[in-house]
């Protein structure tokens, strides 16, 4: 079993690594103190905002139809989309969280970054081209392709919104906490700033603006991280062994940072977390939506090829950055440690390792650049989430369920924009409401729901001919309810949030995925098998045509035909 304290770190880090938000969540950053106002960082961020708002203005002129709004008219290239996907995935927290974990524990940080990467090949091999060939705007287009529209769309939209909500809260809280440390501004100011800017991007520029914000941010983040890693390696003659040797010498845990620590003891948790990360990625609505922005299956494959390459490269950089921080920050404890005392930890908390290293290798201007990148990152991820939430409401619920597919493009676009405003307001409100709450579990929960509810219905509807509406909806509901329920009963919520005594959590593992995802597949299988209705027969008879389209792309929405 994983011990209590390690489990907290575990949950915290999981939160950190993926989404920006949980950054602030746990004990680590939750108690950060406001730092002195950093004008260089604010100026850098202002430049980023000015450029992205300029792009939004340009994008707004191109965003006329619902198709432009959801998918940028399908005119993004594979390379651009790969960068945008990487931008969606490499959050402030995977940068700060993983490098912070490497800084604290060494080797264990590597285990996490691997977990977040391995979902990508699975998406590439099994999903990417099929998504592109069958879908138009949302993943529900794919899941509901040959099924009864109302129940499937209602469920898929619910699944999307629940995932978006948990992910979003974590992001907003993270943004507020991060800005306190990085810019020295108030929490509420940060949350409102994120809400307003994100609404501007999405409302006026739709997917075109959101995509370019992601691309710019991804390039900034990759450039900044590359510079830091090279600066560290340069000091050691590009010999990792020399870097590790120095780190082992100065780190308080010494040689223990070279071997796996206490993070993974219990194999069930290890596998379960691995499943959530691996398959959850293939069920995140804001990631899936990106596959509809490219013109063909060929470009969709290129997208994931590039995305995987950039994300993998980025995780290798964070590993070097973490070790670089170990070596370089301990050389000047007065600058980077509380009271100049190594035992008291880093100023601003453990996740500030990469930020302090930026100062150590590049001075105040580079520190400002990296801080601005970290904040821009949260902004971009939130914009992507909002867009996918808005499309679930306007395309799946409004246009398909309420208007039975007869809504005109202008009305659908209007609903998207209204939803964007609502989501923005709700996000700001929740961000403020959850300021003092422990939200560390939320990102992991979003992944658990994505892999237990969204991924199974998508997978089975596309790849299994006997799957029916009843089976898919029943399995999806099982996955949603069980992943939320088991998370509630696990230590990360039952004990850490609901304040029940230590050890009282009924569900002993770190992630419900091994049970909830397997269960969802089983329910889809059994219910579909037992379903002998006329509707089920019709749905099965439609499979060959669906398969031809998913495999060959014949009849797929083209860029212009959106």
């Amino acid at each position: 079993m994983i011990s209590k304290s390690t489990r907290t770190i575990f949950a915290l880090t999981l939160g950190l690594g993926v989404a920006g938000g949980a950054l602030a969540a746990g004990a680590d950053l939750g108690n950060t103190t406001k730092q002195a106002t950093n004008w260089v960082a604010i100026a850098m961020f202002a430049i980023f905002v000015a450029i992205t708002l300029g792009i939004t203005k340009w994008a707004a002129a191109k965003t006329k139809s619902a198709a432009d709004f959801y998918t940028a008219g399908g005119g993004i290239t594979g390379f651009q989309n790969g960068l945008a996907i990487a931008g969606d995935y490499m959050s402030a927290a995977s940068f700060l969280g993983i490098s912070g974990l490497v800084f604290a524990n060494g080797f264990d940080g590597l285990i996490f970054s691997i977990g977040w990467l391995v979902g990508w090949p699975v998406i590439t091999f099994l999903m990417a081209e099929r998504l592109r060939n069958l879908g138009k705007f949302t993943f529900a287009d794919v899941a509901a392709y040959r099924f009864a529209q109302t129940p499937m769309r209602t469920f898929a939209a619910t699944g999307s919104l629940v995932v978006v909500a948990f992910y979003m809260i974590a992001q907003m809280v993270g943004a507020g906490q991060l800005i306190k440390v990085l810019f020295g501004l108030e929490y509420t100011v940060a949350v409102i700033l994120v809400g307003v800017l994100m609404m501007c991007y999405v409302l006026f520029g739709g997917m075109t603006a959101t995509t370019w914000v992601q691309i710019i941010k991804a390039i900034m983040l990759l450039t900044g991280a590359t510079f830091m890693a090279l600066a560290v390696l340069w000091q050691f003659g590009f010999n990792p062994e020399a870097l590790f040797a120095k780190a082992v010498e100065v780190h308080s845990k010494h040689d223990a940072i070279m071997s796996p620590g206490a993070l993974i003891k219990d194999p069930v948790s290890a596998i379960s977390v691995g499943m959530a990360l691996m398959f959850g990625t293939a069920g995140l609505p804001h990631i899936l939506m990106r596959f509809f922005t490219v013109p063909s299956a060929k470009e969709a494959r290129k997208s994931v090829g590039w995305a995987t390459t950039w994300i993998g490269y980025f995780y290798i950089l964070t590993f070097i950055i973490g070790f670089g921080a170990v070596v370089m920050l301990t050389q000047s404890p007065d600058l980077y440690y509380v009271d100049g005392d190594l035992a008291k930890g880093l100023k601003g908390g453990g996740n500030m390792a990469a930020i302090h290293l930026a100062n150590a290798v590049g001075g105040n201007v580079f520190l400002g650049f990296i801080s601005a990148v970290a904040f821009a990152t949260i902004l971009a991820v939130v914009a992507g989430l909002t867009l996918s939430g808005a499309s679930a409401v306007s395309h799946d619920l409004y246009a398909t369920v309420f208007k039975h597919g007869n809504a005109d493009s202008a009305a659908e676009l209007r609903v998207s924009k209204m939803t964007t405003v609502c989501l923005g307001v709700v996000a700001v409100f929740l961000g403020i409401a959850f300021e003092k709450e422990n939200v560390a579990y939320m990102v992991m929960l979003a992944f658990a729901i994505a892999c237990s509810a969204n991924f199974p219905i998508l997978f089975m509807s596309v790849l299994w001919k006997d799957c029916t509406t009843k089976g898919a909806v029943a399995g999806g509901i099982f996955g949603l309810v069980s992943s939320v329920g088991l998370t509630l009963l696990s230590a990360s919520v039952w004990e850490a949030v609901l304040k029940n005594p230590k050890g009282s959590a009924l569900f002993p593992y770190s992630s419900p995925a091994i049970f909830s995802m397997t269960g969802a597949f089983l329910v889809i299988y059994l219910v579909s098998k037992m379903d002998n209705s006329q509707q089920a027969k019709l749905e099965r008879s439609l499979y060959p045509a669906q398969k031809v389209r998913s495999e060959t792309g014949v009849g797929a929405s083209s860029a212009s035909g959106h």
């Binding site: 691997i114 081209e129 993974i264 596998i271 995987t308 993998g312 398969k547 060959t552 792309g553």
Partner: protein, 104 residues
Amino acid sequence: MNDDIVARIEANPKYHELVSKRNSFGITLSILMIIVYYGYILLIAFNKEWLATKIGAGMVTSIGIPLGVGVIVFTIVVTNIYVRRANTEFDDLNAEIIKEANRK
């Protein structure tokens, strides 16, 4: 979508060749990825000592580090191998199928 075209594609042996070739390639690589990743995780769960072994006498780098970086590199490589083969060989075959289906 035109039912005729679907019927013609389904009747074309090349379509079945495409589906079986591409799917078995995708599934093989998926299984390989799953073995590599869960193998690494289970190694951490059950044999930490071995992973902590140094890669050479007098060195501090442990076996687990190059192995972990290796998993990352492996992930990038297999993904791009699939993309390359699907975008050339399989897409050429796909283009032939569509061309033949549109020819009356």
